[in-house]
Symmetry: C2
Subunit: 399 residues, 2 copies
């Protein structure tokens, strides 16, 4: 009777990621008949998730009846996305398609009690929901720490001075309930928490520089240490318990600086912002974040040989680490974030050459290395994680 139930999720995912601009394309991408695709589109429209343009699209040069355009419903439901980082937090409402509907930055020295800042960020999000009167279907939180699955505890929130094992997912859900963020069934929205780089990778894969990659490797450094993430066939590869891609302790300089892990010359201590500032002979100041200081130095004083050589040193070390990861993971694309992105942009060829030279199969087919293209990609990624149940089964998620 009701047609197009099984394909509902895949169809929404296609529109969500912009791979189904029209119903005709949707039909082809789903591999179903026009009848089914039409029913699917109608159902998604009835659910208030997408919009089928009433007037057909002016087809460019092709003959035949033009197809109706598909787009995300402009006033459809949203998810609450949140990010906690070294300098504070940010809350936002994000619709399908990765579009930020409303945002509220919150500057705040992160307290040692994770519950306090999570309460604050959720309250900021709840305020946005009250102001915009949007329906909320989920919530996602990005934290700068490994997050163990399936319990959702933060294992190494080093620069947040949180206790190890803080139950961030649970705290997030409790805060959502306390703030009265209700989902479709009238029940409180449950929140998911994830590592910020994992979520950034997910966002870049869906809406950014990682679109279309089958095995996307992301590496980024923001404040201290280096984070990695792998997205395989559209899903974050988080290992058996969420702790995969802890790439910071690959050896990239055997004679290098000692690391708290017990080894020397780890990627963490050789390529993060502090390492760059130190290599350039600069004393890090307390005013702005280490990333900002590094970025400023790189952009304004790259002509200075000391700065340039420091950058090249860090690029060489990063290249070694990336080559090691390429050997183990064999990605078909690499996207860099944070300071690593800046370093790539300062001298793209050097990094690509090092990676190609030091990866085993680099010569037979080198891996494209790109910059992340999304602003707030961890935040968008948190939204993606929150959308996931809806993308998997829209009917079940909407009630």
């Amino acid at each position: 009777m009701e047609r197009g139930r099984g394909a509902l999720g895949p169809a929404l995912a296609l529109v969500h990621t912009g791979r189904a601009p029209t119903r005709a394309v949707l039909t082809a991408e789903l591999g179903v008949t026009r009848a089914t695709a039409g029913a699917v589109a109608a159902e998604l429209e009835a659910l208030g998730l997408i919009q089928v343009d009433p007037h057909p699209i002016a087809a460019a040069g092709s003959q035949g009846r033009p197809s109706h355009g598909l787009s995300i419903a402009p006033h459809g439901p949203v998810v609450l996305a949140a990010q906690i980082h070294a300098d504070g937090f940010r809350a936002a409402l994000v619709g399908l398609g990765g579009r930020m509907v409303a945002t509220a930055p919150g500057c705040m020295t992160v307290p040692a009690d994770p519950a306090r800042i999570i309460d604050a960020v959720v309250e900021a999000g709840a305020e946005l929901l009250r102001a915009t009167r949007r329906r909320c279907l989920g919530a996602g939180l990005a934290v700068p720490s490994a997050v163990a699955e399936p319990d959702g505890t933060a294992l190494n929130p080093l620069h947040l001075s949180w206790p190890t094992g803080a139950p961030v997912a649970e705290l997030f859900s409790e805060a959502l309930a306390k703030s009265g963020v209700l989902g479709p069934g009238g029940t409180p929205v449950t929140g998911v928490a994830g590592n910020d780089v994992n979520l950034a990778a997910l966002a870049e894969h869906r809406h950014g520089a990682g679109r279309g990659a089958r095995h996307l490797l992301c590496v980024a450094t923001g404040h201290r240490g280096v984070g990695g993430a792998l997205v395989v066939d559209g899903r974050v590869h988080s290992g058996s318990s969420g702790l995969a891609l802890e790439v910071g302790h690959l050896t990239v300089n055997p004679a290098g600086m000692p690391c708290h892990c017990g080894s020397r010359g780890c990627l963490d201590v050789e390529t993060d912002p502090l390492a760059f500032l130190t290599a350039a002979g600069r004393e890090p100041g307390p005013a702005v974040s280490l990333l900002q200081q590094s970025r400023d130095l790189l952009r304004s004083e790259y002509a200075d040989p000391t700065v340039r050589e420091a950058a090249e040193l860090v690029v060489d070390r990063l290249g070694l680490g990336l080559a090691g990861l390429v050997n183990i993971l064999n990605p078909d694309r690499i996207v860099l974030g944070g300071l690593h992105r800046e370093l790539l942009e300062a001298d793209p060829e050097r990094l690509r050459a090092v990676v190609a030279d030091r990866s085993l199969w680099g010569r037979s087919g080198s891996v494209p290395i790109l910059s992340g293209t999304l602003d707030h990609n961890s935040l968008i990624g948190a939204a993606e994680a929150a959308w996931q149940p809806v993308l998997d089964d829209p009917l079940a998620a909407l009630g």
Copy 2:
């Protein structure tokens, strides 16, 4: 009308891996009704793949009507499995359930022309097929080299003195056609080729020490160099082009021996049989393989402090490498093969302690490290790869 078509593949996989000993268990595992499970079992029996015991199984202690046992059809179809290694080759016929039906070892110095040995190994397999008159549904070949996907070329057949890029999958299929190995449609069987450690990992996951693991990491060393493989949710994680898990060039000894990759102290040159023999002060002889020499030394002279210390040195280096892999891949089980397996069995606690100590989350939950349990696991793995189309869709593969 015909019930249980969609579940045919999953059901066969359950019987194949021994997870569905009875129809009742099959019903539960598939999550379908008894009616559907019954139809599925009947269909698989009609296809000649499995056997439904006519008389029910004596249920141990439980009441209720006893269920009928399910088992692999004893005279059902087979696949042709082949393995090429440093000392020669081996061909076999393997039925479902990983049971070797017939085998033919072939000792032969591996010629520089891959076509010649592939022809020989296929001819040995074809002879087995003629002798046993079994129906052949596929063919798989394990080679000690990375195999690029999807074209099936061998990229680093170092100790085979083959040219880089040898099209082994193509040569294999051509040899099968030439030898008259015909599949169900009367057309020649097409062969799949894979890296031996990847295939061994697959075999261990389905029938050996890796059963039940969701993220299984296998590391093994046979002759020269070290191979790795990751099986995620029952599938080999081979990266975007089949070249993943090239683990041999992780740095495990910064001051170590130079490696052809340009670095020093790689896992390859620090933990393979040659490294062990060298560390023990033994000159490798030409008579038997390096693995055999190492194994003999380890088993017969472990009381000798020189040998013991060499073993401990290699174990420590291996532990560092495994810890690095644990940090990146977060497996829930590790299975070792070749000399690494022997080293684990010589002193299990030492290796486990090193890995737990040097992996970031080792203390919160250490990864079980086990020995491979299958004889000829690469060969069985080659069979698994050959069975895959049948396991995915029995009707299509047999029709």
